[in-house]
Amino acid sequence: VLNRRCVEAAVMTGLALNCSINKKSLFDRKHYFYADLPAGYQITQQRVPIAVNGSLSYSLCIDNKMSQMVTKTVRIKQIQLEQDSGKSLHDDTRSQTLVDLNRAGVGLMEVVMEPDMCCGEEAAAAVRELQLILQTLGSSQAVMAEGQLRVDANVSVHHPGEPYGVRTEVKNINSIRFLAKAIDYEIQRQIEELEKGGTILNETRAFDSKLGCTVPMRDKEGKQDYRFMPEPNLPPLILYDAKSLPANVNHQQVVNIDWIHERLPDLPSVKRAKLVERYGILPEHSFTLLNEDGLTEYFENVVKQTQMKPKKVIGWILNDLLSYLKQHSLTVKESPVSSFLLADLLNLLEKKEISSTAAKQVLAELWKGEGKTPLEIVKEKKLEVIQNQKELEQICQAVIDGQENEVMAIKAGNQKVLNKLIGLVQRQTQGRSNPVLVKQLLEKKLS
């Protein structure tokens, strides 16, 4: 019996990937014997799948700095519904295979891409974007480590202008990072093999994550004939749209493509564009925000609670918060510094009650998660900006008095040296001086 939710998920995914949804699709049996396939066949859609001819756009950084992004597209050949098999666990020590049938029969969506990508990085970016789309739609949680998203890579090489070479299929890839590695290794392996005059076999290889290479999988004894046959127990799947929907129909029995289309949530690309427009951040910033689970929400919460401009907030989010989380392998949800606390801190900075150097010190304290507020830390460590102008003037004067050479250089016209004096004042004040004010005072004194 067909699972309605699977059909809806496939339609949603097809629409999100710009596919044509086939209003009539068929189910087939694919026969082979294996311990994890209890029926001796898998139900799939070999003849007419549910969706075809779509596209997936993804972005890459040209260099490593995330400062220049380029958009690429990979064509989607089709999406088909099929059954999952059970799971086989090989126990080589006892020469046994253990079979777990719990997931046998569960619905799967197979998304088949055309060979439009040229390297591991492109594939990784494409799959990452697909992952985000699936999570946004709710079709799948798409966590590779949990087997919710499984990726097999088909790799071939050819000289420009020549037809595509023989491809190998690489399986056993458990993360996006390994996907890129596996593909790049395989490309390299094939090139080396061909350059020494060898040939590429149309085979299946497994990625060995420990060694970082691909190895041939157990030989499958020549090509398998799956003896495809139409699945007799599942009638053709008919989908409707607003135009073709018959009157007086039981809504529980039909799937309406238009109805689903109207209810599609904002896809990642739309979400990113909205973030850029609303907050004035850079496109590459929006990628990072979406790539980290919960980060967009965190960012927006901070923006709501502070007067600091989003353009400035983003720096604190991406540079300070995110790098700390990464260093300690924490997720956004596990952050010891809540958006409320960070907003609080940024407000102090925005009101110029502390300098940015001081703010970084406060943040370092906040990471300890001892429950102190930013204000408490500022008071405790005496990090307030010096408000007393007289005090500041005295310090400036002292620095000027102590740096005769630099003073002469400035008076001679070398303005850059002024920064050194500002730095010295900062050091004297242990970062508690407002650099703009310091500059003004020094200039006044030196004029």
Binding site: R29, G40, R227, M229
Partner: protein, 525 residues
């Protein structure tokens, strides 16, 4: 619901009026099963659970709250339907000892109506065959072999020969169910019909065998032979009973996506008085080679019966009939190969001791578990499904199937209401003669008159019509239009009334049952 409907059910009426109790009925049937054990109609007799069900039914009658017409009625089920807690073997080593955790939908429906499940009946292994001779529990014997009618007509070859070597087959593959109904051990039985497996044994055993329209009754829990042709079949002693059972089984099942969504309304059969508006079609291609002259004469007599009563009787043509055997062979074996793939010894059923490797275990398990008939069909089916053969065999056969089905559409579209044909080529043959030919040859011969209805998904019914010269039953078949069971059964009932088929005079050694056959409760109608 049928209780208030005014249908005439003799035994049901007797139960309601307290003239007989469900436990009485159940015990009588169980006892008769024991004394007719030589028929080998039952693989499993569920004595304890049946008595318990009978007791529960009795309690309901006592409170005046029976569930319906079927409450307390003993029934039997062919052993390829899953029954929770009761062994389901399909007469195969592969499933010997297999106890299913669930009831097939049709079984559940009958139990929900209060029917008493006496046991599981014998069949050809995995329903492959037309004799009920090729199961691992041995062949089923036709109760008519032990009837006075047959004995009177048979010429013993020598003094020492007796019924032991002269007995005739039931036909198949639902032979056990047909024999069970025919020998009065139950009031109705479930069979299955893929190429004629309910109608064929019904004809040979002198009972009513109904093949419903494909999609009317759920196949959930019926271990599949050919998913696109299988239907649960109904075997009873009269047409009215078949209508009652149909009423309790038909309707959409969410667990079977091939059942139609439309609401099914159970119907009562009215007594047809005027057949003048009826148009009966006689397909000329069903005058098949090998059709016995007896049956030909019977068929002719039947058409005269309709003509004389004022019905319109016309000869029609179903030109693609002659391709149906080959077409059936390809499609049936292909589906069999697919459906049998699940029997690998890992999850349930027989598992071989061979454990050098998974593959060797599969091979040994399947060789040990399946008989030659099953293995032969699997090999053929796999051949037809090979990539290089798929277009030429499977797809071609599907196209021919469409042509066969269209033949019927055209004929019915031209104004014909019902088709009348023989059900079998001859009366039941003796077992010793039957086994001289192999299963495949026999099936090809015997299915010719019945399997086109499976190809087209049409409803069809065997009505016992007369006794042959050898004193054995011969039946005739009515084929109706899709989902027009009411019309089909109405005509069948009229015909049944006209022919007055004689009751079997079963001579069973324990004579306390001699009187049983004369009870009014021979049928529940």
């Amino acid at each position: 619901a049928a209780l208030s409907g005014g249908l005439r059910f003799q035994v049901s009426k007797a139960l309601r009026e307290g003239r007989v109790t469900p436990t009485d009925l159940c015990q009588k049937c169980l006892s008769l099963i024991k004394s007719t054990r030589f028929l080998n109609a039952y693989i499993t007799v569920a004595e304890e659970t049946a008595l318990k069900q009978a007791e529960e039914s009795e309690e309901r009658y006592r409170r005046g709250q029976p569930l319906g017409v079927l409450d307390g009625i003993p029934i039997a089920v062919k052993d390829n339907f899953n029954t929770a807690g009761i062994e389901t073997t399909c007469a195969s080593n592969m499933l010997k000892g297999y106890i299913s955790p669930y009831n097939a939908t049709v079984v559940q429906k009958l139990l929900d109506q209060g029917a008493v499940l006496l046991g599981k009946t014998n069949l050809d292994e995995f329903a492959m065959g037309s004799g009920s001779t090729d199961g691992v529990f041995g062949p089923v014997r036709n109760p008519w072999s032990y009837s006075r009618q047959y004995k009177e007509k048979s010429v013993p070859k020598s003094h020492s020969e007796d019924e032991e070597s002269n007995w005739v087959i039931t036909g198949g593959s639902s032979g056990g169910s047909a024999a069970a109904v025919s020998s009065f051990t139950c009031f109705a039985a479930l069979g299955s019909d893929t190429g004629g497996s309910t109608r064929n044994p019904a004809a040979h055993c002198g009972v009513v065998g109904l093949k419903p329209t494909y999609g009317l009754i759920s196949r959930h829990g019926l271990i599949p032979l050919v998913n696109s042709m299988d239907v649960p079949g109904i075997l009873t002693r009269c047409v009215d009973d078949a209508a009652v059972v149909l009423g309790s089984l038909a309707g959409h099942d969410p667990k079977d996506s091939t059942t139609i969504q439309d609401n099914f309304k159970p119907f009562e059969l009215s007594d047809l008085t005027d057949v003048s508006k009826l148009s009966i079609g006689i397909p000329k291609e069903y005058h098949a080679p090998g059709l016995s002259s007896e049956i030909l004469a019977l068929w002719s007599k039947a058409t005269d019966l309709f003509k004389n009563a004022g019905a319109k009787v016309i000869e029609v043509s179903l030109p693609h009939t002659r391709y149906s055997i080959v077409c059936y062979h390809v499609l049936c074996t292909a589906e069999v190969a697919s459906n049998m793939a699940r029997f690998d010894g890992l999850e349930y059923g027989h598992r071989s001791d061979m454990n050098n490797s998974t593959e060797s275990m599969y091979a040994a398990t399947r060789r040990e578990g399946f008989n030659g008939v099953v293995r032969g069909r699997i090999l053929s089916g796999n051949y037809f499904l090979l990539k290089q053969n798929y277009e030429n065999y499977f797809v071609k056969a599907q196209k021919v199937r469409r042509l066969i089905a269209s033949d019927f559409v055209k004929v019915f579209g031209s104004g014909v209401d019902i088709l009348l044909t023989p059900t079998t080529l001859s009366d039941a043959v003796p077992y010793m003669e039957f086994i001289k030919e192999d299963n495949r040859t026999r099936s090809a011969q015997d299915d010719i008159l019945t399997q086109a209805a499976n190809m087209a998904g049409l409803p069809a019914i065997n009505v016992p019509s007369a006794l042959s010269e050898r004193g054995l039953p011969v039946g005739l078949q009515f084929i109706g239009q899709s989902f027009q069971e009411k019309q089909l059964l109405t005509v069948a009932k009229w015909f049944e009334k006209q022919v007055k088929f004689p009751m079997i005079q079963l001579e069973v050694k324990r004579h306390d049952h001699g009187a049983f056959q004369h009870e009014k409760s021979a049928s529940f109608s």
